[in-house]
């Protein structure tokens, strides 16, 4: 396995609006547009979990989207990170006390980076992605390490038989 980390240079994101008020939501989209242009960092908004490395979630978890969020997360190939954008995604935010809000995204899937703000600004989202990149890289290293160990184990088993 190569040790070159392309992952950091080409993070593709999947954005899902859990139960956001659209505030953070549109700021995520604004990141793609000329003034912020996150494609500078190789970021593409894929819209397809199978292609994505970073799952960006805005808004908190409610009854119906719980399964959707988990489904999307599971469909992403490893290594992957989750960035919770905005305070609703972190804790449920101002809607924390609503009867249909179960809380932040971490109630359902592990969250790696929390971006505060109501609404989170494009700059904060960029910062969040940057923070996510190093985590992504760590996970990749761990993954290849694990694969290496597995391989070694297989070899060892092969030799013994």
């Amino acid at each position: 396995m190569s040790t070159m980390a392309f992952l950091k240079r080409s993070p593709w994101i999947l954005h899902y609006d859990a139960s956001s008020c659209n505030g953070c939501d549109i700021e995520v989209l604004a990141c793609l547009t000329p003034l912020y242009d996150v494609e500078r960092f190789g970021i593409i908004n894929t819209g397809n979990p199978k292609h994505a490395d970073i799952l960006m979630i805005t808004g908190g978890i409610n009854e119906l989207n719980r399964a959707v969020v988990r489904n999307l997360y599971e469909q992403m190939p490893e290594p992957k990170v989750v960035v919770a954008i905005g305070i609703c995604a972190a804790t449920g935010g101002i809607f924390r006390e609503c009867y249909n809000i179960a809380g932040g995204v971490d109630k359902v899937i592990p969250v790696d980076v929390y971006v505060p703000g109501c609404a989170a600004r494009p700059e904060m989202i960029i910062d969040g992605v940057v923070a996510a990149l190093s985590i992504l890289e760590e996970k990749r290293a761990k993954m290849t390490g694990a694969a290496q160990i597995k391989d070694d184990a297989r070899h060892a088993a092969g030799e013994s038989t």
Binding site: N22, I26, L29, T33, V68, F95
Partner: protein, 359 residues
């Protein structure tokens, strides 16, 4: 015979930034049946009135929707003011109008961008959102927030716009309008855009009215309903005529919004030049007791806040009916017969704001 294809469209879908689900039944690529299902964003914030005092609830109302945030705050505040018989100072009314129209501008530009994206016109999406950023800059400079303004409160507004800033805004309007008109020309005259929009998702005037369509969806079909005509905030002073198109297709709905962008710029221009001096707010004493159906014209159409106070700091009921909810029945009627490629275009043509709809 074509066979039937069943596709789950959404809730996560790249073209729809918000979760809405459609059970699409297709024959080849023609939609024969499309049943929406919503509820992915339902938070239940109407019940937050039990937890928040009626003055604090403005912040919740703002976050019903992050795009038309100011208008929700305005609608809520006007409702409470109506119940409590509060007379809002003139300058506050004008400032509210300016921020309302700025919100409308940013909402429409945002929508135009998403609409272009739905048509697969990436550059146009980029251009629309680039223009939108200049509106957001103005909003940030005058309110401190890009998308959630937080300046409207019961009895007036929380911030003023200084004379200097107003003059600067006024100066910026002309070049901005020119840029918007260039953008609008693409939407209105480009052949590929026309090809994608014309004769698509047609709703006749009678149908639109009978289905209770709101906002540009209704006006695109020739139904001249625009609540700004009732003259809330400063619209009464500034004078206002709704933008109406008659074709009832996606192109007409797009045209309404493009022309409303121009109209909004004009309204802001006049509001700035006629801006009265005076206080920003009046003191709110006591608690609301009574009920009122407060109605405001959002970028997406008429929004209704039904507010009912019982003389305590907590309202007895806040019921919010947003324009997208009213536009879902027309949407259900529009989809059959469209092509799969047109589904996002048709869905976007009502400018769905799901977080408003589901509260």
């Amino acid at each position: 015979m074509p066979e039937r294809i069943v596709v789950p469209f959404g809730p996560q879908h790249p073209v729809l930034p918000e979760p809405i689900h459609l059970d699409l039944v297709l024959e080849d690529e023609t939609v024969v049946e499309a049943i929406p299902s919503i509820g992915y964003i339902h938070r239940g914030l109407e019940r937050l009135i039990e937890k928040r005092e009626f003055t604090e609830y403005v912040y919740v109302a703002e976050r019903i929707c992050g795009i038309c945030s100011f208008m929700h705050a305005l609608c809520y505040s006007q409702g409470i003011e109506e119940i409590m018989k509060i007379e809002v100072p003139d300058r506050a009314r004008y400032l509210r109008t300016i921020w309302s129209e700025c919100s409308r501008l940013h909402s429409h530009l945002l929508w135009l961008g998403l609409f272009a994206d739905g048509m697969g016109f990436e550059n146009l999406f980029m251009r629309s959102w680039q223009l939108r950023e200049s509106v957001l800059d103005v909003l940030e400079d005058t309110t401190g927030g890009r998308v959630i303004q937080g300046t409207c409160k019961i009895g007036g507004v929380r911030r003023d716009i200084g004379a200097e800033k107003l003059a600067e805004m006024h100066r910026a309007l002309d070049p901005f309008e020119e840029q918007c008109r260039n953008l609008g020309d693409v939407f209105l005259n480009d052949e590929t855009v026309k090809y994608r929009l014309q004769d698509l998702g047609v709703i006749s005037k009678d149908e639109a009215y009978a289905l209770g369509a709101a906002g540009p969806t209704a006006r695109g079909s020739g139904v001249a309903i625009d609540h700004r005509e009732t003259g809330y905030a400063a619209y009464g002073d500034l004078g206002f005529k709704p933008v109406v198109e008659t074709a009832g297709d996606c192109y007409a709905r797009c045209a309404v919004r493009v022309k409303e962008v121009y109209a909004s710029i004009d309204l802001i221009r006049r509001a700035i030049s006629e801006m009265p001096e005076g206080p920003l707010d009046v003191k709110v004493k006591g608690a609301p007791d009574g009920e009122y159906f407060s109605r405001v014209e959002q970028p997406r159409g008429e929004v209704v806040h039904y507010l009912r106070g019982n003389g305590t700091k907590h309202l007895a009921r806040a019921r919010i009916r947003t324009s997208t909810l009213a536009n879902i029945p027309p949407l259900v009627k529009m989809l059959p017969g469209a092509q799969l490629a047109d589904v996002p275009v048709v869905v976007l043509s009502i400018d769905p704001c799901i977080s408003c709809t589901e509260r």
